[in-house]
Symmetry: C2
Subunit: 323 residues, 2 copies
């Protein structure tokens, strides 16, 4: 019987860690969720994942062969194979590739979650066949994975692609990184919330959003208000799209991508975010780039995207003979 090549895709998040066993066609055979529990050593998490896979192995195709493990994690560094000082996790430094070797005895590779999403998009989603594109994850923050000549941009030290920390408004909003005016303080779920509160403070329109405390306001609520025609919600989406569109115009000057792909919670707002983003980008583009760059929604199912991205990461390495 011809062997069936499979990989393990792991996405480590602040609260939950998702694990899947995936083939080359994005078919997920096994799918587990674990609480990350970063108050314990990372070794505990890897041991739980390993034990669970061992236990469920009989569910895999009979001819299945595990080829490698791909991991996406906040601050995951491709070159060192380590997670260093991750935001939202209590670990300081985790040798992920070392732990993969110890527990699975398989080739392992690590990158950050946004880069993994870009590789997933290229292998299984909206960027299939593209050599130059930018994947933007609009979650609590803004992550980006940038592909040039068919390869991820890791830069000299593995930390490239930090588009969320490009400064778009000098002296603007305070960012988690300690600086002011970073793109992610505007174009993200938390940025949208800040924008709503700014508009509520500056303008006088009645709005259902005036009833909701800051800590409770989600981008879904802003979306629901926009659907009802709430003026504050609509203005907040327009402003978010403007800041993002202007930043994308600059990104196009650097990369001249075929497409920019928006992914994550805020992208689910559909036209409310895509239309102003596209319009303000076009308005600000250097003439030679106008009407050339597509803005697309992700072709990955949101629930499995992180696992598929991590799986794409290891497939990519295996195919290039790098691991």
């Amino acid at each position: 019987m011809r062997k069936k090549e499979l990989v393990i895709g792991i996405d480590i998040g602040g609260t939950n860690t998702k694990v899947g066993i995936v083939d080359r066609n994005a078919k997920i055979y096994l799918h587990f969720d674990f609480p990350t529990r970063s108050e314990k050593p990372a070794e505990d998490l890897f041991k739980r994942i390993f034990d669970k896979i061992e236990q469920e192995k009989s569910e895999l195709p009979e001819n299945g062969v595990l080829m490698g493990v791909g991991v996406g994690a906040p601050n995951g560094n491709y070159f060192s194979g380590k997670i260093e000082n991750p935001p939202n996790l209590k670990w300081t430094s985790v040798d992920v590739v070392g732990l993969i070797q110890k527990y699975f005895d398989l080739p392992g590779v690590l990158t950050n979650d946004a880069n993994a999403a870009a590789l997933g998009e290229m292998q299984f989603g909206a960027a299939q066949g593209m050599k130059n594109f930018i994947e933007i994850t609009l979650g609590t923050g803004l992550g980006s994975g940038i592909v040039v000549n068919g390869q991820l941009v890791y830069g000299h030290d593995g930390f490239a692609g930090e588009m969320g920390h490009v400064i778009v408004i000098k002296g603007g909003r305070l960012c988690g990184c300690g600086r002011r005016g970073c793109l992610e303080t505007y174009a993200s779920a938390s940025g949208l919330r800040r924008t709503v509160f700014e508009i509520l403070a500056e303008e006088n329109q009645p709005s259902s959003l005036r009833e909701i405390p800051y800590e409770d306001l989600t981008s879904k609520m802003v979306y629901d208000a926009a659907v009802q025609g709430d003026a504050v919600a609509l203005e907040a989406f327009d402003f978010t799209g403007r800041v993002l569109g202007e930043a994308l115009a600059d990104a196009v000057a650097y990369f001249s991508p075929e497409a920019i792909i928006l992914f994550g919670g805020l992208a689910a707002a559909g036209d409310f975010i895509f239309v102003p983003t596209k319009n303000y980008m076009e308005k600000n583009l250097l003439p030679i780039f106008r009407n050339k760059v597509k803005i697309l929604s992700s072709g990955l199912p949101e629930s499995d995207a992180a696992i598929l991205g991590s799986a794409a990461l290891i497939w990519n390495e295996l195919d290039q003979g790098k691991v």
Copy 2:
């Protein structure tokens, strides 16, 4: 006798076109300058270059073999092999690779002048051995050539690397591209002149620069004034370095380069431009990038850099078997 491989490097400028015959070690065997004369068809220029090389061929090493032709030109497109609507040239569209084949019967390759400079730097200059760096040409405008994973970033259509047209001050100075606030309206020889005039208008310090009409003011004059301690000249360099340094901090977030290399007329101002640029960049960097990214002067001799860049372009293609 073992053959000696040589290439022709051509740099087409608004006024003059430089041509050199170059070996793999940056040795230039023949060196010519031609008036570009873009009021005539581009074919006229290529015919003059071809005739001159034919005429002087006996000066080349006896075992010399011409392998190809590399051309750097404003708006030169790597993918199409054409110059399209170049600034400062009267041509609308020139099929450069076609003209090379017609006159020289050799493989030809074209890119813009800033990209050629980056390749020259990688092959012969300060970026030898680097895989990730940004070359910035501070001339009348600001050109950039960006190298990622050892390859030039051309993007989807060959027009990537337009860092001069990243918008750094919204609603700022009018740019030749028709938009406002582009980096090159601040960080370039002409940007420095505009800055001097802005400071002369806003401040009251005595300055030798108050004697000079706008059209006559060169960056060399601003440099000479700075050497004499002229307060306006010093402030103008500091402001230029601030705008450039802030833009570089954003570029580092995208690319995480090993080094940023400054080249061209304004870079000749040495510490007056390098010191503020470095300081403002460091001050604005995301913490993970601090004290990691070198800012270097070009390792290419200014007079031959354009020819060496064009030569590197064709060596690069020949070595990769692309032509």
